[in-house]
Amino acid sequence: MLLEVENLCVNYGRIEAIRNISFTVDEGEVVTLIGANGAGKTTTMKTVSGLRPVRQGTVRFEGQDITSTPAHERPVLGIAQSPEGRGCFVGMTVLENLDMGAYARADRKTPKIKEDRDRVFGLFPRLAERRSQVAGTMSGGEQQMLAIGRALMANPKLLLLDEPSMGLAPKLIQQIFDIITEINKQGTTVLLVEQNAAQALKRAHRAYILETGEIVREGTGQELANDPAVKAAYLGGDV
């Protein structure tokens, strides 16, 4: 198991954002968390990347208990996140942002970095064109690509993507999902949060459904995509 989350509870003050959830992500998988607004998806992602303190439960990565490992030590272990709302460094250029992605890598001074950068530019040619542009002046969609590219620069074992298709044009959304599938084929495990449940379920090996802080269903992507209750609640009947 690459990631094991067990009986996790996370609070914002008195508010219980997630209650007693358990899930796993196996090496090589794409796993998706589906849920309505406010269900606790982002909170779960932030807890896995260490930005939120855990009230109860454990998070294990490659068998190692990382529940109280500070966020800034987790990229070294192989966890990278493209956060909800992008979180690009708006005053830095595209290149500087990508370099920040590789900040924690031990091999950051080797030619491997350039290879990875070229890989990102291959996936997002737009970023290559804009390499010297300041991130703050790029469009929302471009910044989204940059956030994903920056996370890839960490060369992670586990890639956390929180709503990577947010703010993208329909055609680009397809592309992003293709890219996620491609990244996964190249060997990166992906934990994906998406509003676009239809696409996410189609691409994911397995999925969990979060409702007000609890996991209410789990199954393979296909199982859930064909489930009438899931269809009614999350797919809006358009699949």
Binding site: S49, L51, P70, F89, V90, G91, M100, Y103, A154
Partner: protein, 328 residues
């Protein structure tokens, strides 16, 4: 007017030299503000402690009367002592006055009060400096020297003023050259460090988006400590330059200088490194011209009028953007 016109270059270079001192202190305000969104009001005392560090170390080494290479060595030692002690005091502030509050998620106002309190403690501790010396029975000479609690302590170094070369009609002195030269070198090094080095990028990343920086593997606490150390060292260098220009320091020397440097930081755009440098120089020169035009009693009025006028037209300061957003 005539006074300014007939001595234009003297006032300009004198203003730039003082501006360099403001600018170096302003860096500390702006760096810490960038990563913590906190005005470190005790930074003025970091400067003041640096000035005493230089005085005491040079005194203990018997620097007075040195000439030639010895003098140069003592100058370097003075800079080093001031920078080291200021950096240490700044780091101490972070550990004692700010970090514990941050760990408890206290609101910004509390940190500000802590800053003001720390400022008083540091200033008064230096004001009473003869007492500990008497308790510990330290070297009589040194104790005598520092034993005048509320008086000025002169720099125990004889730096003769040597006129080196002309800029137009102004005969530039060695002190102008030391102050401006070393300030500019330090500014360029710091600027390049922040723009290009990995740690410098870490500082900018934390300033722009602390959560995203953590996701990249940047240790925020380490970055914060680093900004206090850098800001402190710069204030220490400024303290030595101040001693060279003014010749004496006092336990309350930090106050007005701190206010001026903070003004410079706001003038340039708080949070913006290059803004702090520009603000410092603009303020120094404006003050210098102001004192030529209206008499030196008016130079502080000129400085603060300038601040108000600039902020009326450019509320975010001359260069506006924050440290985070400023780029190479």
């Amino acid at each position: 007017m005539d006074l300014l016109l007939s001595n234009f270059w003297a006032y300009t270079i004198g203003g730039l030299a003082f501006g360099a001192i403001y600018a170096l202190i302003a860096l500390g305000y702006t760096l810490v503000y960038g990563v913590l969104r906190l005005i470190n009001f005790a930074h003025s005392e970091v400067f003041m402690w640096g000035s005493f560090a230089a005085v005491w170390v040079l005194l203990a080494l018997g620097a007075k009367g040195a000439t030639g290479l010895g003098l140069v060595a003592f100058l370097i030692i003075g800079f080093a002592a001031a920078m080291a002690v200021s950096a240490a005091v700044a780091l101490g502030l972070e550990f004692v006055a700010y970090r514990p509050l941050r760990k408890r998620n206290s609101p910004p106002l509390i940190a500000l009060i802590s800053a003001i309190g720390a400022s008083y403690v540091l200033s008064e501790a230096m004001g009473l400096r003869d007492k500990p010396f008497k308790w510990f029975g330290a070297d009589d000479n040194l104790a005598d020297y520092v034993g005048r609690p509320r008086e000025a302590s002169p720099l125990p170094l004889d730096v003769p003023t040597v006129r080196l070369f002309y800029i137009f009609d102004y005969h530039v002195s060695n002190i102008d050259l030391i102050v401006l030269g070393s300030a500019i070198v330090m500014m360029v090094v710091l600027d390049q460090f922040v723009q290009r080095s990995r740690l410098g990028r870490g500082i900018r990343a934390v300033a722009q988006d602390a959560e995203a920086a953590a996701l990249m593997g940047v240790n925020r606490d380490r970055v914060i400590r680093l900004t206090f150390v850098i800001g402190g060292a710069m204030a220490g260098a400024a303290a030595m330059m101040y001693l060279l220009k003014i010749g004496v320091t006092r336990y309350n020397a930090g106050f007005l200088l701190g206010v001026k440097a903070f003004t410079a930081a706001v003038l340039g755009g708080i949070g913006n490194l290059r803004g702090a440098l520009l603000g410092g120089f603009v303020l120094g020169v404006a003050e210098s011209y102001g004192s030529a035009l209206f008499g030196s009693n008016w130079k502080d009025v000129v400085a603060f009028t300038l601040l108000v006028v600039i902020l009326l037209f450019r509320p975010t300061g001359l260069l506006g953007e924050s440290l985070g957003k400023a780029r190479a």
